[in-house]
């Protein structure tokens, strides 16, 4: 057999392995593991486009070979193309962005009426019980630092969060009280790094700026009188890879990029020395998403938005925190726990701006 034939044979074999290797190996692996071969599930539902797409996606997600190879392929993509997968966009100077954050800014969106209806209904329900509502949309990272995403955005670029600003204006027009963190953050973004480079969330400085503004707003409106509980700060430094990097689902990428070091201020009670804790009896209920969870329920704990808002207000707060669920899920949880509204004077409702469009389960009107 000539070298030419051997080469042809090798190429044909390699091509066939590429074409059929994954498809044929998975049923064998399933059988070896005592499972029903997943390939047979294609016969378990009518062969509609939707079912076939779902089947295809499931095969991709659960294939042993794909699961094994994908992190390495993702790493190769990252090295060669700076590509971090479908949810992540690599920015400049080591900044990484969550794709839906960017999509929300640059794509058309037409869901304003549904959002408005849900927020107004919540506002009116609370008002009927004598409870004030303060809405606090949290700016997404690319809203404040678009120049870290693209070199084509120049410093002094002006507002890029058009949808959110329009929504803020419509809410105010509808009689809903809001805090405008967009303007505040834009004014401070050059002097302080308000967001984490590797994460979707605000930095400790950005979080604290927001907490100070919300506390000041509540007191300016006369809705909350400063309490008597004294808190002090305890600096804690943490090192972590941000959630955006972890979305790439490649340990090799995480190993190649050093974690981000962050110094937080943990809130500690002066009288007991114990880290801040919520209280169900507070006058103030805070609803929100992972922007409230970071530093608070994650390490170092008691160093997040609610702890700092409590420190500013001199009182512990009641909270419902729900990752990605501040649009509807937090209100559903409140509906299941009506006792949390007892004795409340104010509800502070934070949600990240992209959830105006992408919030889990949309913006439903939730009866309380």
């Amino acid at each position: 057999m000539s070298k030419k034939h051997i080469l042809h044979g090798f190429l044909v074999a390699a091509f066939l392995v590429l074409l059929f290797g994954v498809g044929l190996s998975q049923p064998i692996l399933d059988i070896v593991q005592g499972e029903r071969p997943q390939v047979l599930e294609v016969f378990s539902a009518p062969p509609t486009e939707k079912n076939l797409r779902a089947y295809e996606k499931e095969m991709e997600d659960t294939s042993t070979i794909v699961q094994t190879v994908r992190p390495y392929m993702q790493y190769a993509h990252f090295l060669g193309l700076k590509d971090l997968g479908k949810d992540v966009l690599a920015g400049r100077d080591g900044w990484y962005f969550y794709k839906p954050d960017v999509q929300f800014l640059i794509e058309p969106w037409s869901g304003q009426e549904q959002v408005l209806a849900a927020i107004r209904a919540f506002h009116d329900t609370l008002a009927a019980q004598g409870i004030q509502l303060l809405v606090v949309p949290a700016p997404g990272k690319p809203s404040i630092y678009p120049e870290k995403f693209s070199a084509r955005v120049q410093p002094g670029h002006g507002a890029v969060s058009r949808h959110s600003r329009e929504m803020l204006a419509r809410l105010v027009e509808a009689g809903v009280d809001c805090v405008d963190l967009f303007t505040l953050f834009e004014q401070n973004s050059a002097t302080t790094s308000l967001y984490l480079k590797q994460d979707t969330h605000w930095s400790p400085e950005g979080m604290r700026l927001a907490a100070q503004e919300v506390a000041a707003d509540l007191q300016r409106r006369g809705w909350v009188t400063k309490g008597a509980v004294k808190y002090m700060f305890k600096p804690v430094t943490i090192e972590r890879h941000g959630d955006v990097l972890r979305m790439a689902r490649s340990p090799q990428i995480l190993a190649a990029i050093p974690p981000e070091s962050t110094t937080c201020k943990q809130v500690v009670r002066e009288d007991t020395g114990q880290p801040y804790e919520d209280s169900a009896d507070s006058d103030v209920l805070v609803l929100g998403d992972s922007f409230l969870r970071i530093y608070e329920r994650d390490e170092p704990h008691a160093a997040g938005f609610t702890a700092h808002l409590a420190q500013q207000l001199g009182m512990p707060l009641t909270t419902i925190i729900n990752d990605g669920g501040a649009s509807t899920l937090v209100r559903q949880e409140l509906s299941r726990k009506p006792q949390l509204l007892q004795n409340k004077k104010v509800v502070v409702w934070e949600f990240v701006e992209r959830d105006l469009r992408f919030g889990t389960e949309g913006w439903q009107v939730v009866p309380l």
Binding site: E35, L40, Y98, G324
Partner: protein
Amino acid sequence: MGRALNWRTLRVALLCLGIGVFASCSKGPASDVDDKVTTLGDTEVTAQLEEIKGEFADQTNYDYAFVMKYKVLKVHRGKLDTDTIYVGHYNPLTPRATVADERVKDVGGTLKKFRVGDIHRMALAAPMDDFFMGGIINRYFDEYKGPVYWAHWTNPGVKP
């Protein structure tokens, strides 16, 4: 001769594969009982997954629980007043064996995938809010106001 042998080998291999597939399809799980499903939570049932309402949220950056509707076939432990229950499963797209994480430690099992019609043996506790502090996608929210169970442990089950 060589070609005939190859074809014979191929046919035998395909036959073996077919028998393997058939045998695998026809056999149920080796056992639906382990020390976790019999001890975690306060209720243990064998139940048929009756409905998964809508599609699971495919979110890479959020952990959540998804509420599913079950028809109870047998109560092994605890007490139930109804044969229809609503159960929240943590990150339902993840096999139960690897679903536990830093924030939610007390979940697991041997079930790999949720499929309507399948039978599960589960260790449960209610109300779910007492056991899971996170996003709960409950598409029965408007129609059902009773307790929702938290699935601590989920194994493939066998019909009692």
